[in-house]
């Protein structure tokens, strides 16, 4: 699998990411009342914070272009993809399929996140974790979740 698919200047990308978050926040609160310093509306504080964040990230973007220093560490797709996917599977299955299926699916998918995992070990771990979690979390700690569909 392709180990490095994206490289670049950290300042630029960090600024870009934060700038888009700040812009999103400003857009989200723009319809709310700003108010005055004496009587702050719901948008006052978020706008000030988002404005500061936006200004700082803009500076980062410019600095990244003008003075490109520091490469971004390479991103490896495989562990990231499978770990996130395993959480997605857990979330989708926990309410519909019960805890046991959710754990089996999560561990099964997480298996592919690392080249060092071994199939037999993972199967044993998946079963062991399903049993352990059922006992500890459901019976002992009383989390209201069904074990099986």
């Amino acid at each position: 699998m392709n180990r490095t698919f994206w490289r670049g200047n950290i300042d630029f990308y960090c600024g870009l990411l934060l700038l888009s978050i700040a812009a999103l926040a400003i857009w989200l609160v723009s319809e709310l009342d700003f108010g005055t310093a004496r009587e702050m509306g719901p948008a006052y504080f978020p706008l000030v914070v988002a404005g500061l964040l936006g200004a700082m990230s803009l500076f980062m973007v410019v600095r990244g272009i003008v003075r490109p220093e520091g490469e971004m560490a390479p991103i490896e797709i495989r562990p990231l993809f499978f770990i996130l996917l395993s959480f997605l599977a857990f979330g989708l299955l926990i309410a519909r399929g019960g805890l046991v299926l959710a754990i089996l699916a999560q561990v099964g998918l997480a298996h592919f996140a690392s080249p060092e995992t071994r199939v037999v070990e993972t199967i044993l771990f998946a079963l062991g974790l399903a049993l352990f979690s059922s006992v500890v979390f459901v019976y002992l700690l009383g989390i209201p979740v069904s074990l099986l569909p």
Binding site: P46, I103, V107, E116, F137
Partner: protein
Amino acid sequence: MMDVLALLGHGFAVAGTPQNLFFCLVGALCGTLIGVLPGLGPVATISLLLPATYALDPVGAIIMLSGIYYGAQYGGSTTAILMNIPGESTSVVTAIDGHRLAQQGRAGEALAVAAIGSFFAGCVGSLVIALAGPPLAGVAQKFESPDYFSLMLLGLVSAVVLANGSVFRAVAMILLGLLLGLVGSDINSGLTRMTFGFLQLSDGVNFVAIAMGMFGVAEVVSNLESKGEKKAQIAQISSIWPSLKILLLTKFAVLRGTLIGIAFGILPGGGATVASFSAYALEKKVARDPSRFGKGAIEGVAAPEAANNAAAQTSFVPLLTLGIPTSATMALMIGALTLHGIAPGPMVITRQPDLFWGLIASMFIGNLMLVIINLPMIGLWVKLLNIPYRMLFLVILVISAIGVYSVNNSAFDVYLTLAFGLLGYILRKLDAEPAPLLMGFVLGPPMEENVRRSLIISQGDFMVFVQRPISLVLLLAALALLISVALPFIRKRRVEVFKDEAAN
């Protein structure tokens, strides 16, 4: 003084119940475990176990969670000394001389001095909380909204000092954290903000989801990246009982380390990691022959280990008296208190005496347990070092998924963890640390509330923050701290301090 003793006695009665003793032991064991294992820090572990404590009573929960934090200070030294791999960021300096000692066949001595130094420092640190807590909380009760705002600002500036790498990015991370903290309903108008219409977000972003995503998930993904597995050599332990001569030799080093740790724990911007580095630097400075350091000086183990444990205890002082976190771990403790319906602040001591005094008493008990866990049982922990990460990460993933789900029984929070895991991973790659973000997140809502109240009192005049003496002093302290970070001398120290540090 008599009062304190009586209250401490009450605390021991609370902490001494079989149930709380059990939680204390669990915390100490978990702390040692994650301290020994590299790649799993106290921040990730506490966020991992935070939801599980939801079912417990608040006192037991806090006793256990704090046990994890100071327990990790003990465990971290084991890996540092035996394998030259710091199990925790706080034991980075311990590895320098500790591993040299181990190579010279004096591993047992180094481990014993580390544990006994930690024990002494832990007890003194706990005593400091007991003595300094109530008067400080009394002072804090005089605080009004402007003072609180300035205090929180000081807390956030300290997060910048703590952060790894770029100061500029750390400030940006705080702002991002503040922004995330503001998601949800506005207290005054009741209108929802930045929720994208998700009903699940109207109470704000789930704290556990952020902490678990940013620290747990992002850390697992980073750890799984292929770095070429190194099989480290584990040094052998001969005898763990140090001679009286060695203990006497290190008594001043332990004392100096303890004092430094106490100071750094209480002050914002300190924390256990910085304390251990400073203690090592001081030992090197006062030593008659500084060239011994780096070649197996026992003081180089004793002082930093005492310092990190003392700081781990006293960092609870600002948390329990002012409600201000001084580190990411303390931000998690605020989350834990809030989860149990306890508002952190000066009222904790008077309104929750069981919690405050019980926690302090449990620290004495916990430290004693830790010496026993870490010295006679050392062989057990060394065996644990052989567990490969390919098994460990599966356990971490499942427990974190169940943990997040169980807070509100909502799959939405699991997806939220996923999203924050992705964000945390990318930010890590972009050299932006998640710790300041977490502190901003915790302080976002109270900051807004206090700035609002201040400006209502002052009728919109921003000068209110410099007109009140307490507020002015706090603002000046924040300014001084910010300037000091920018100065080249201290900046150089910071780089040194955080060179090997993880996200703690």
